[in-house]
């Protein structure tokens, strides 16, 4: 299991490839890999968005993400998991978050990665501030419930 916070842009598929190839003990054991990638849009709430700043709470963010992944590991037979999240200044089309989960069977991979992602959205201390095309800035007030 690994949690990574990046201040620079990252390639999520390369992250999965590198992590999977380095986890030798996983080879032959997993039959399912579920990959979720969240990417920054250039629009939100009817406005054009030209950039975003992601603030976080160093230490607490990692601690909460570790707890969330540990909860998923208790609920599903997860072989391994990788969570990567961007912070700092982000541009549209750049990846924000990656959740990858390796399991023996697909159902557990879907369910565990969904759990991690929804828990991250509601509990991991990150805050987005959008820069609008008009040059105005605004903090996002809350995340929506992904199950609704």
């Amino acid at each position: 299991m690994e949690i990574k916070i990046y201040a620079e842009s990252f390639d999520p598929l390369k992250e999965v490839q590198v992590y999977q190839s380095s986890a030798k003990d996983m080879a032959g054991k997993f039959g399912a890999t579920n990959i979720f990638i969240g990417t920054m849009r250039d629009f939100n709430e009817g406005d054009d968005i030209t950039g975003m700043t992601l603030e976080y709470y160093p230490g607490m963010t990692e601690k909460q993400l570790e707890k969330i992944v540990a909860e998923a590991l208790r609920q599903w037979p997860v072989i391994d998991a990788l969570v990567v999240h961007r912070v700092g200044d982000i541009l549209p089309n750049e990846p924000i978050v990656l959740v990858a989960v390796w399991t023996s069977h697909r159902g557990d991979a879907f369910d565990a990665s969904r759990y991690i992602m929804e828990a991250l959205k509601s509990r991991a201390p990150f805050w987005k501030k959008e820069l609008l095309k008009s040059q105005a800035e605004r903090w996002l007030l809350k995340n929506t419930d992904g199950y609704l």
Partner: protein, 77 residues
């Protein structure tokens, strides 16, 4: 006892600082820490609170050396 207080995101901007270092004597809760640090500002309803990087309720006790954090709802992912 010494308590470090931290603020994040829009709350940090609205109160104009990112942290405080406070001294208390006797039993203190997270709510007491807010009132002492921000005597003229009511804690907004939606603010989340943490002690030593774990979520807690406002009536949770704090002890010497704790780091108390106040921040708005999280919006990552």
């Amino acid at each position: 006892m010494s308590i470090k207080v931290r603020y994040f995101a829009s709350l940090k901007e609205s109160i104009g600082r990112s942290e405080d270092n406070l001294e208390f004597s006797g039993l203190t809760t997270v709510a007491d820490v807010w009132r002492s640090a921000n005597p003229n500002k009511t804690l907004p309803d939606n603010i989340l609170t943490a002690v030593n990087m774990d979520y807690v309720e406002l009536n949770s006790a704090v002890k010497d050396g704790d780091e108390v954090a106040f921040f708005p709802p999280v919006t990552g992912g």
